[in-house]
C-alpha cells in the first residue's frame, strides 16, 4: 500500500533537508570557492560568495612551489600500496574463515577486531624507536607497512562478510566436478568475490588516505603524504587562505569522489558487518 504524500509536506521536507545539507557541506564549498580567489579577496570584508574575479593562480602556485606532486604521490603510494598488500594477506585468510570454518574461527575474527581497538599511542614509542633504528622513519615503505597492519583487521572483516554471502553449494558443486582448492579459488570464487574485493579496496584506500596519526608522527618531509603536508600549513603560512584552500581542495577531491561511490560499503566496513 503506497502512502499518499501531500506535495506540501514533501516540499517542507525538501526545503528543510536541503538547508541542513547545504549547511553541513558549506565548509567544503567555501574552501573550494576560496581556492579560486586572490589572497586579498579571500579575506575581503565583506566576504564574497560567487561574484569575484575567479583565478586559478593558487593552484599553479601550490603545484609549482611546494613539492606538491611528491606529497600527492606519497599519499597514492601509501594508500594504494597498503591496500593491495593488505588484500594479498587478507583474501586467503578471509576465504578460509568463510568457507572452511573451524571451531576457533569466531575467536580469531574477534581477536583480529580487538587489535583494531588498540589505541595508537599504546604502541607509538616502540614503533617510533624501531623505525628510527631500522631507517624506516620518514620512508614510504615504513608507512605502507604500518598502514597495512592497522587496516588489516578491517580488510579481513569486510572480505569475510562478503565471502559469507557466497553460497557454499556452488563450491561443493565445483569440488564434485573435481576442482582442486586452487582452481576453486581462481575460477569459482574470485569472479563471485570481485565486487566485495573492490568495495573493500575502495574503503581502505579512503581510510589510509585520511589516516593522520601515524603519518604525522612517522614522517617529516621525504615520505610525508598530503595529511602531513597540509599540517605544515598550521604555521602562519596557513593565513594565506587562498593557497591553503587550493592545497586542501586538491587533497580531498579524489577521496571525496571515491567516498561518494562507496557509501554502502563504508557502513558495512566501519561497523564490521553489524549494520548493513
Amino acid at each position: 500500500m503506497a502512502r499518499a504524500v501531500t506535495t506540501r509536506r514533501k516540499a517542507a521536507f525538501t526545503l528543510c533537508a536541503w538547508a541542513i545539507g547545504l549547511t553541513i557541506f558549506f565548509p567544503i564549498l567555501w574552501t573550494v570557492l576560496t581556492s579560486f580567489k586572490t589572497e586579498a579577496q579571500a579575506i575581503a570584508d565583506p566576504p564574497t560568495l560567487l561574484f569575484f574575479q575567479w583565478t586559478t593562480e593558487n593552484y599553479s602556485e601550490v603545484l609549482g612551489r611546494s613539492n606538491y606532486f611528491r606529497h600527492f604521490a606519497n599519499s597514492v603510494i601509501i594508500s594504494v600500496g597498503s591496500t593491495i598488500l593488505g588484500l594479498i594477506i587478507a583474501i586467503p585468510a578471509a576465504w578460509s574463515m568463510a568457507f572452511v570454518p573451524a571451531k576457533r574461527t569466531k575467536d580469531v575474527l574477534m581477536w583480529m577486531l580487538s587489535t583494531k581497538m588498540l589505541p595508537p599511542v599504546g604502541v607509538l614509542i616502540p614503533i617510533y624507536l624501531i623505525f628510527r633504528d631500522t631507517g624506516l622513519l620518514d620512508s614510504r615503505i615504513g608507512l605502507v607497512i604500518v598502514m597495512t597492519l592497522i587496516n588489516l583487521p578491517i580488510i579481513v572483516w569486510m572480505l569475510f562478510t562478503y565471502f559469507k554471502e557466497i553460497p557454499g553449494e556452488i563450491l561443493e558443486a565445483a569440488r564434485m566436478d573435481g576442482a582442486t582448492l586452487w582452481s576453486e579459488i581462481i575460477y569459482v570464487l574470485t569472479p563471485m568475490a570481485v565486487p566485495g574485493i573492490a568495495s573493500t579496496m575502495l574503503l581502505n584506500i579512503i581510510l589510509a588516505w585520511n589516516e593522520a596519526f601515524w603519518t604525522l608522527n612517522l614522517t617529516t618531509t621525504n615520505a610525508a603524504p598530503l595529511t602531513a603536508f597540509i599540517a605544515s600549513y598550521s604555521s602562519p603560512e596557513g593565513l594565506f587562505y587562498a593557497k591553503l584552500s587550493a592545497a586542501s581542495a586538491m587533497a580531498i577531491a579524489p577521496i571525496l569522489i571515491m567516498g561518494w561511490f562507496s557509501q554502502k560499503q563504508l557502513v558495512r566496513g566501519l561497523t564490521f558487518g553489524a549494520v548493513k
Binding site: 565548509p27 565583506p46 583480529m112
Partner: protein, 290 residues
Amino acid sequence: MATAHSRTAARLMISPAVLLLLAWMIVPLSMTIYFSFLSYNLLSPGTEEYIGLLNYEYFLTDPAFFAALGNTLLLVGGVLVITTVGGVLLALLLDQPMWGQGIVRILVIAPFFVMPTVSALVWKNMFMNPVSGLFAYGASAIGIEPFDFLAHAPLFSIIVIVAWQWLPFATLILLTALQSLDSEQLEAAEMDGAGKISRFFYMVVPHLSRAVTVVILIQTIFLLSVFAEILVTTNGGPGTASTNITYLVYAQSLLQFDVGGGSAGGIVAVILANIVAIFLLRMIGKNLEA
C-alpha cells in the same frame, strides 16, 4: 565437505594475517610495557634503569593527567551527544519523501571524507579566526565582538570540528539501519491500527537503538584517539586546556623524549580503550552468531 587436506590449507592461508597481527600487537605492546617500568629519556641514552611503578605514579598524579582525562571525556562525550542526537534527527529527516534525496545525502556525508588535518585547518583559519574568519565577520556584521574560539574555548572548538567530521558517519549508519526496517511490517502494524506515534516508539526506536549502540561504541574507539585535529589547531593548549590523553602521551614521549613516562601513559590509554572495546566486541560477537 571440508577435508583434512583443505583444513590444513585453510590454516596455512590464515596464518600470515594472524602472525602479522600478533607481531604488530605483541611486540610493540610488550616493549611499551617494558619501557613503562624504566627511567628512560631519549636525551640521555644509556642511563635507563628499572624504577618499578614510579612512571605510573608520576603520570597518574600529574595534574596534566587529570586535565587530559577530563578533556578526553568531554571531547568524547560532547561529540557523541552531538553526533548521535543530530544523526538520529537527520536520518529520520532524510528518510522522508523529498526531492533530490540522493544529492542531500551526498552533501551530508561529505565531511567524513575530508582528511582531519584539512578540516581542522579550514575551521581554524577560515571560520574561527578572530580577525579574518567567517564567524568574526558574521559577529561584527550584527554588531557583537568577534570571539577568539580557539584561544578562549579551545576544547569546545575542537568538539565542533570533530563533531562535524563524525555527524555524517552517524547519519549514514542510522539512515542505513532505518532503511533496512521492513516496510511491510510497518504497514501491517498500520493496518492493525497502530498509530503513527506507537509505530515510532514500538517499531522504529527499538530497531534504531541497536544501530545507535554500534555508532556510539565505534565512535568512542576513534574519538579516544583524536590527535591531528588538536595538533594543528591548539597544540593541546592554552596550557592543557585542549590536551587529551592521546596528545598528552605524544607530547610526553616525542616532545619531551620521556619514553618511560610516555609509555606508562600509553598503557593507561590502552586500559581505558579496552574498557570500551569489551562492550563493543560483545555486541559484534552476538551479531556474528545471529
